[in-house]
Structures are given as structure tokens and as C-alpha cells.
Subunit: 323 residues, 2 copies
């Protein structure tokens, strides 16, 4: 019998990575092509499909491909499109699933990165067996993938789960967000958010910090983490404020969704106790009594280097098991 | 052929109302018993079941009962229980569905009032045919029933959908909530919330108001509405502030759930434009660009006098059509 596999594809602004993945999450083959070199989506897809076809041939076709899962910025699972993704070379609305039809009759599923991360966590990671949980991705922005009763929350137009764009407080004296509004959670809780917080605390403080020599553009989340580990008070305070904002909002998320667990994934989540401790403290403080101590806040169990492709491939297994 | 009906039961602190309802929402029979007269749940259920049995006999048993739906404060749809409902005579955890077993083999479903209202809206009201929508009930507190992909959002423990207990801002300088925390949405947006807002504005203002003669305990939402209709500036401002808080939070709800529509039900929602206009304004102001102008904010189409029993009966039809 041939081994069942799923093809996972992560379309990023710089590179597109693909993998041939079995049901247990083992990578049988992987590769990449440079997204940014392909100004035309059709040419990109022809090159990508050729690469995948060759990879399958190298496996002597001893596998049975069950479907293709794709994670992409602004990927819409209902329409099968990528819509106005500013980081990709192709503008407007790209009918991705339709364009795949000339290469394959397999099921092709596209969604955004945070949704793929959530399904990856459910199929291969720490959320195995869970029915109601949420994955928060803490990269440049804040993404969220929400699973309700074992299924990805999609919403009416495929855009549900934008917890990064819920707001911190009423009124307009808030941070500007890339989305055009002010005060979104991701302006505080994300790698770019903690940079902003760090700069504000540094400006108010007279404490020493080696990062007083680093300008805003050069500052990274990793630098703030390393400084915090060495005892930098400003860096630790920046993590504390970031966790307070996240925990405060996660209490709302629990009141709305009643999840079993919330996973933090990627970027800031790698700062371990510096982000988990203040977040847990604020979450417990703000939770309703009957939830206190009962909602798990956990690190993702998916290797963040492989997560995008694994999450994309997991869409295939999840779809198969839900139909 | 016998007409298919569902029995809807609304258990309230003072009275319990029941109705025999057909698939179109017509009431074939209705009645009530005084909840507060029954200190023991077993005696209460015996009396209730006897009344319903007699009502069915009066219909000459020309109906086929498809199930029993119950709306109750703190009703838990997963466990079939009523848990620590402070307004009911029976304390602790009441295994309601199990207790019904001695009277009937029919399916018995129990949930809280806001969830029943949402299912009622879907089965008989303005949400017919909708798959993703939210009903906000604006009574003494703020309840919410959330429908995702045609199914009630329940969560891991049956407690999802507590939008009334999401919070207005970080920090502790906020209104005390009956839930023990500070700053929950329902401390601002509910009949009791607008009373608090009205009193604060009145205290800061020197404007005339006939309601300066009314004490806090005697003040009702209806009085504030009537004053607003007569041009009372304080009353109108109180509605404006209430709508601003609601619209601000509903923008978060849209970002999280991507619903087609949000319905306002009962209590404050009956104040029509005084609550809808400021809520819509704040909602549109805070929505992400791609949602602006695209999410409907609507009054419930269910008669609020009959809504509790209709919503309870709708649980039966919804369950039947989802299995």
C-alpha cells in the first residue's frame, strides 16, 4: 500500500517552501522557490508545480497524495483566493485554487498563516485531541487561529479570527496600526509592538541599557529578549507591559470562546518566561471566577522553523477527517 | 398526520412559562406556573409536567411532540444542568435534563436565555437562513448568543458567548460588576449600565432633567428612554455613551467572528434610534476597513414578550435540523 501524504506549501514574500508530509508530520521531501523572482502568478505556479512533481517522482511515486494545503498571507479559505497581500508580488485578488486546477484534480485548500498554524497544532502538535482552542502567532503582527468544536472558525467571509485587530481601549489616543486604525492589540503585542513599548519606556526611564545604542529600525525582538535575560530593566519592563496587554485581551477571548487552551506560537513566544509569566498573571487577574486556573496557556509544540509547511499540510488531514 | 410541535419552557426567577409551538413559531397553547412557590426542584418539575400533559390533552393529542427546549439562567447545554443560578429557588447544580427522564423519553435541551434567543432568531426571526450571526440581549445584564456556521457556539464547557464580561479597558479604575471583577461591558451596556451612566452624567452636569427627582433604585431604562424622547439632554447623552461602548466592543466581536449580522434584543434595544444610532456610529468608526458598511446591526424580529418561550422551543427544531 502506498503511504498517504499531504503537500504543504507556505507562500511567503521572499520564499515559497513546500514539503511532502505524512499523517504523523514527518517530512519525506522538501524544497523551495524564490517567490519574489516571479512577477506573474501563472509562471510562479508552473515552476512550483514542476518542482513538486519532480519531488514526488524522486519518492518513486510510492506515496498517495491526499491533497494540497497552502498557507499564504491573506489566504481566504472560503473563496480559495489570496486577496490584496501587500507582501507578495501579485496584487489584487488571486484565484489560487482555480489556478491550480490545470495542474491537479486533488483538493487544494488555502488559508492564512495563523489558521494553518492552528490546524497544524491540532493535527501534529500540542492540541491533538482538543476540540476548542486558540493559537496566537506573535510575529511582526499578531495572528490568531481559532478552533471551535474541532473545526477552524472561518466566519461569513473567511476572515474570522483577527484578534490582533481587537482594540485596547475606547478613545483615539492610541498607537497607529498598519490596518489604518488606532489601538489594535497587535500595536502592543507583537515583535513590532514590543519595540514600540521598549522605546517608550526607554524614553521615560533614566536606567542604563545597552540598547540605548540601537536605533528603532535595527532593534529586534531577539535583542530585547537577550537584554532581558542579562537583567536589563527596561527590556524586562517592556515584556511585562506586553504580557499585561496580551493577558488582558485573552481574558476577553476566553469569555467569548470558552477554549480549553491557548497556545502562543513563534516570534515573541520564544522569549519563554519573559512573555508567559506576565501574560498568565494578567490573564488570571482578568478571568471570570469560574475560569480562574482552568484555561491552559501553552507554548506551541510545533517547531517554528517547520510550522508553516506543517500547518499547510495539516489542512489536508483536517479536511479529510471532517468530511 | 399529526402536527409536529416543540415544547418551549422559560424558567425565570418569578414565573416559568411554557408553550406548545409549531415549526413556524405559532403558539398552540401556553401557560405558566410560579417558580418561586416551589422550593424543591422535584416538586416544581412534577407540577410543570402535569400542566404540560394537560395542555397536550386539550389539543386532543393531535400533535406530535418533537422535543423539549428549556431556557434558564445559567443553563448549561453540554451538561444539561442549571448551575448556581442566584435568581432561582434551587441552589447548587441542578441536573435538569436527568430529572426530566422520569416524565419523558423525548430529547430535552437546556441552555441559557441568550443562547435560546439566538436560536429563536435563527429558527423564527430575522436570522432565518443566516449561518454566522450574533444576538446581544440588553436586559438587566448583557447576554450574547453566537451562531457559527449554523450552530450555537458552546465552547469547551458550555460557557462560550459571555461578551457581557469582556472588558472595556486595562487597569482597575473601572465599574464594579456583579461577576466580582471591574470594567465588564455589561456594567456600561445594559439597563443597569445605562442607569449608572445616567447618574454619573447627571452628577457632572447642571442641565435640567425631570429625572433629578428620581432615585437610583426607582430609575428604569424606560424612564431614561422617555426622557430622551422628550429632549432630555442628560438622557440622550447617556444613550450616546452607552452606544459608544457597545459599538466599540462590537468591532472586536466582528474582528473575532466575522458575522453577517448582529441583532440587538430586548430591554435597551427597544429604545430604537437612541441606542442604534450611537452604536452604529461607533461600530463603523472602529471596524477594520474591509468590514465598514458591511455588517448589519439589526433589531430582533422576535416579539420580546414571547421570545423566551419561542427561543426555548427553537432549540428543538435547531437540534433536529443539525442531526
Amino acid at each position: 500500500m502506498k503511504k498517504e501524504v499531504a503537500i504543504g506549501i507556505d507562500i511567503g514574500g521572499t520564499n515559497t517552501i513546500y514539503g511532502i508530509i505524512d499523517r504523523e508530520g514527518n517530512t519525506l521531501s522538501e524544497g523551495m522557490i524564490p517567490t519574489k523572482d516571479y512577477g506573474e502568478i501563472e509562471v510562479f505556479l508552473a515552476a512550483l508545480n514542476e518542482k513538486v512533481r519532480l519531488a514526488l517522482r524522486k519518492l518513486n511515486n510510492k506515496v498517495s497524495v491526499e491533497g494540497i494545503g497552502i498557507g499564504a498571507p491573506m489566504g481566504n479559505i472560503i473563496k480559495g483566493t489570496i486577496e490584496n497581500a501587500v507582501n507578495l508580488p501579485w496584487q489584487g485578488i488571486i484565484p489560487l485554487v482555480d489556478l491550480f486546477r490545470q495542474y491537479t484534480n486533488l483538493q487544494v485548500i488555502v488559508t492564512n498563516d495563523a489558521n494553518a498554524a492552528a490546524v497544524g497544532e491540532m493535527v501534529y502538535g500540542g492540541a491533538k485531541g482538543m476540540k476548542n482552542f486558540i493559537v496566537i502567532t506573535l510575529g511582526t503582527g499578531l495572528g490568531s487561529g481559532i478552533v471551535v468544536d474541532g473545526k477552524l472558525l472561518i466566519g461569513e467571509n473567511g476572515m474570522a479570527g483577527e484578534i490582533g485587530h481587537t482594540m485596547i481601549r475606547p478613545g483615539a489616543s492610541n498607537r497607529e496600526c498598519a490596518c489604518g486604525r488606532k489601538g489594535c492589540l497587535e500595536t502592543y503585542v507583537s515583535v513590532s509592538g514590543i519595540k514600540r513599548t521598549f522605546f517608550k519606556i526607554l524614553a521615560d526611564s533614566i536606567a542604563d541599557s545597552e540598547l540605548r545604542n540601537v536605533n528603532f529600525n535595527n532593534l529586534t525582538g531577539r535583542m530585547i529578549y537577550n537584554a532581558a535575560k542579562k537583567g536589563d530593566v527596561i527590556a524586562k519592563t517592556a515584556f511585562d507591559h506586553t504580557g499585561e496587554m496580551l493577558g488582558f485581551k485573552l481574558a476577553d477571548v476566553v469569555a467569548s470562546f470558552n477554549p480549553e487552551a491557548i497556545f502562543l506560537f513563534g516570534g515573541l513566544s520564544l522569549a519563554e518566561e519573559f512573555i508567559f509569566e506576565p501574560t498568565k498573571k494578567a490573564l488570571e487577574e482578568h478571568l471570570m471566577d469560574h475560569y480562574k486556573g482552568k484555561v491552559s496557556l501553552l507554548p506551541s509544540k510545533i517547531d517554528s522553523q517547520k510550522a508553516a509547511v506543517l500547518g499547510a499540510s495539516a489542512l489536508v488531514w483536517n479536511q479529510k477527517e471532517n468530511t
